[in-house]
Assembly symmetry: D2
């Protein structure tokens, strides 16, 4: 099993592309598509896979609810890597089909939402059909008896099912992207690289004005930048939320560690989800220069100073 990897299937999804990009050099690797995000988590939890990949958020659609739900509940897994994949939609059909032949287009509901403009401009008379995934759309179209003439899907899916591209870049936003995470069973964290991200879920103690601001202050006071914050129901009814957060930095760093301890003290519960290299590390984008006073050296200097004054040494 040590070379089996689970991912949100079916074959040919952007998730498979993400997994292949994360594990490029594993010739003996076996990539296992799962029928649902929860199935990927289950495979990793049970040890049937060494790791798994699921989508976390999309630049157009926002968070992937099923993934967040699994991260918040059930036996904890660690996020140990992330990758961002451009979402490039292609219109695929069986060989011999031309654009003017296309009357019925199958795709996933999210993909449909992101391609409405192109469809209205280029296939104004075609009808759209929603199926369970973009890859499923490709698979369906591959069947010569299919009711669908074309599928909007990822390149990997169209090629896998032997289709030919009719039009590329049919998404309305050229810069759409999806962020995927790689899940591992609890164990060693990735080493700090200097450009890391830490994910966690915080459960507020109770609902009072300013409670969330107090929580964010635990980060701000240590100069830790939050890059994402999403409230989501705890599952105990509407109005009871937990907060899914991404912060810059690695839990091994003093400033992140102290901020998390602060959160731990004031929250009802904190679930640590992992510290891992940022996908955009190379780009430099969103990597604020830490203020000089919150490096590990600053923390250690302050600790030595505290030890001195606690010993009455102020001279």
């Amino acid at each position: 099993m040590s070379n089996r990897y689970a991912y949100l299937g079916p074959e040919g999804t952007f998730t498979e592309a993400a997994l292949r990009a994360l594990k490029p050099d594993t010739p003996a690797a076996e990539f296992v598509p799962c029928n649902g995000v929860d199935m990927v988590f289950a495979a990793v939890r049970r040890g049937e896979a060494a790791g798994g990949v699921v989508p976390l958020e999309n630049s157009v659609e926002g968070g992937v609810s099923a993934t967040t739900a699994e991260l918040v509940r059930g036996d904890p897994l660690l996020i140990t890597a992330e990758i961002t994949v451009p979402v490039e939609f292609t219109l695929f059909a069986r060989a011999g089909t031309t654009l003017s032949d296309v009357k019925r287009v199958a795709t996933h509901s999210h993909a449909l939402a992101q391609c409405r403009g192109w469809l209205a401009a280029n296939l104004p008379d075609a009808e759209s059909y929603v199926v369970s995934s973009t890859a499923a759309a490709a698979q369906a179209v591959a069947d010569p008896a299919s009711m669908y003439d074309a599928a909007i899907c990822a390149r990997i899916a169209g090629e896998r099912y032997g289709l030919v591209p009719l039009a590329e870049g049919v998404g309305d936003r050229a810069d759409a992207a999806t962020r995927f995470i790689y899940l591992s069973r609890p164990g060693t964290l990735p080493e700090p690289t200097g450009a890391d991200r830490t994910s966690l879920v915080a459960f507020l103690p109770h609902d009072h004005p300013g409670a969330l601001a107090e929580l964010l202050t635990q980060f701000a006071v240590r100069d830790v930048n939050l890059t994402r914050l999403e409230s989501r129901p705890t599952g105990d009814g509407l109005g009871t939320y937990c907060f899914f957060m991404d912060a810059d930095g690695h839990v091994a760093e003093a400033r992140v560690g102290e901020a998390l301890m602060g959160l731990r003290r004031i929250c009802r519960d904190v679930r640590f989800l992992g510290s891992y290299p940022r996908a955009d590390a190379g780009a430099g984008a969103g990597r604020p220069t830490p203020r000089v006073s919150t490096t590990d050296d600053d923390f250690h200097e302050a600790e030595r100073w505290l030890a001195r004054i606690r010993a009455g040494r102020v001279d």
Copy 2:
């Protein structure tokens, strides 16, 4: 058109149930199902419907991405009412089918996620199929030639398509609920009731540590409670977020008005989505007692004091 109301269809969804609960006494009303959240928004924007209902968030699944996307982008609409509907799943089949006959169950992916426990315990050998909505599942099952034996859907859908219930309460969480919002074209706001909610979207000026905490401080300093906060991509790529917020109170109240002006000054943009009565107003749940110093009377007293001191009257 003044008595036409749009909702996320097809017929028989929980959304239709929400709309009927919001408009109980409109005998001549016409309820129009739309094929997508964006279509509901479009119908209201174009004036083809007097109002529309869409789901905003679910206690188990979290926010409904398509709804948030439409609220954030496009021509603005106002939220003028909300309602919370319990999500009660029922297993429906054609007359004559018994539970032991059920080998193939159709439903929507969210419903499937919420009923996995029941299915594993009661129909361990049945296969599950994902279709585009729970109502579509019911419709499909109603066809005697259907490949599906049963549908998990709302009561309203099963009844509409002439099915019979095989099992009720098949959801794993008895307290699951969905919050729906009622959309109107810009115009008069609902009157303050004393138990209102204000929704808005804030676009941060730029990404720096503590920016979000500063934003929340604008609320905390006026003792305005935030009940929901969700970051979502602005659509301009990952890492650029706006914040969808629900706050207690009505924009007509001084403390809410001043907080919103503060937000307006520090944000790149603020989109006001509406002030409307809280669905849980009767329950009292989550209605914190405002501290004595932030009532409208307190604000007006402070304004009078400021006018006095500006005139040099300190005695």
Copy 3:
């Protein structure tokens, strides 16, 4: 009385020098020395003087307790001007005295504290005597029968009592300065100049962790810079403090006005002490550029926006 001005006497103090600098062009003015800071306040309160000058703080010694006490208690007066005067100490003696003759030096306790270094270096064998003011020291030395050989005092005092300078600049810190305030009865405030200061006293509602931080947040959230903050006992026993504050800006400005209203709402009491031109206005020192979002224009734009959204106009 309209040309009578009170000041902390006796004649020849730095306070008289401050008053003369503040009222340079009033030929018919009568300057009345008072025997105590409280006497200056009393003279202005009773209308016996059109205004009065007292020291507020010294760069070496800190706040002048008697002045703060009067500002906090009793019938309110307004600060309508301020001036900063360099504290330059001179050693004066009767004509014919040489430095080597000086065995006994009289001065005020604060002056003595600021000249100890010079005395130790230049008059190591002389004894120091504390009297009630530096001017009183000069006056005493002027008496040929005096037990004192020399006085450390301001130039104005030495000259007034016919003494001759033995040594100038005998203070240990060349940059020592005292800030004086000009007091008026309540009435019209000085016009905003663009470089003003606002003084006030805030009485916290009760002593809880973070109460003071909440108070400062009222300023920070409107980007109002605090330049001075001093807790002082309310007089109701130790441990009960009020806070004397100087803020940048004029109460006529929107950001200052809103901050003061916020203070008013959360405090037990707020005493406004005045808005007046900064003494260091020309220097530019300490005049932070307001962030673009807190100008009066920004506030007015936000008010117009609020009026629009309250009317349901979001388009």
Copy 4:
């Protein structure tokens, strides 16, 4: 020298009373009056005294400037104890003097300010003279050739100089009190008692809006209560302040230690002045119950949790 103790003289001041109360059981102790607060500091710094006592603040007059100045500058000493002494003023005269004989009253300027009401009501025709201390007033009156008929001073002073009380409780505020501190050379801190105070001086990095609020947030975020905050000039000219602070708790406590480290990181400099038992420990006054999440146990639990998650143990 180990039983020599310095105090702000002359003999008979409230400071001597404070020292005797702090060292009640030291029969061989030698109490040495010093001519100025700076002289007390010097005696302790040079090892000529084992410790020293000076006034820190008075409930009516506020902070004692000379003491704060010495704490901020020069070789550091530690505050290792504090005591609060009620300020009870008595009118003393030579034997044989009656109240109606009193035409000239000598006292210190602070005492005079606190007794003006009584003097106006009971000795409306008497003249007041300011001398260097209340004890000096008593000493002067003891001389039969004195120009003064009576002195306002502490009981200890009147008795020491053989005077008789003419009137007790001549202060205008019955609850006036002065807080004195006991100074030691750097060395072992007093043990935590559960009701301690920590004093320090913070030098802000630079003057920007919100800088002080950030500093206070370092305390608030760890739920450490500040009981006193006083800005004072650093001596480098007006407008450059440092902040003298008293906080609840002992530096040996985790929450205080972490707050001080936070201060250390964001400030230009922090001078620790000591942790010592609160004088009002028995009274319970002003001793807020720490929120449950900031006890040492809470900190240690959070540290253990951090160690676990850093090791990848989230299960």
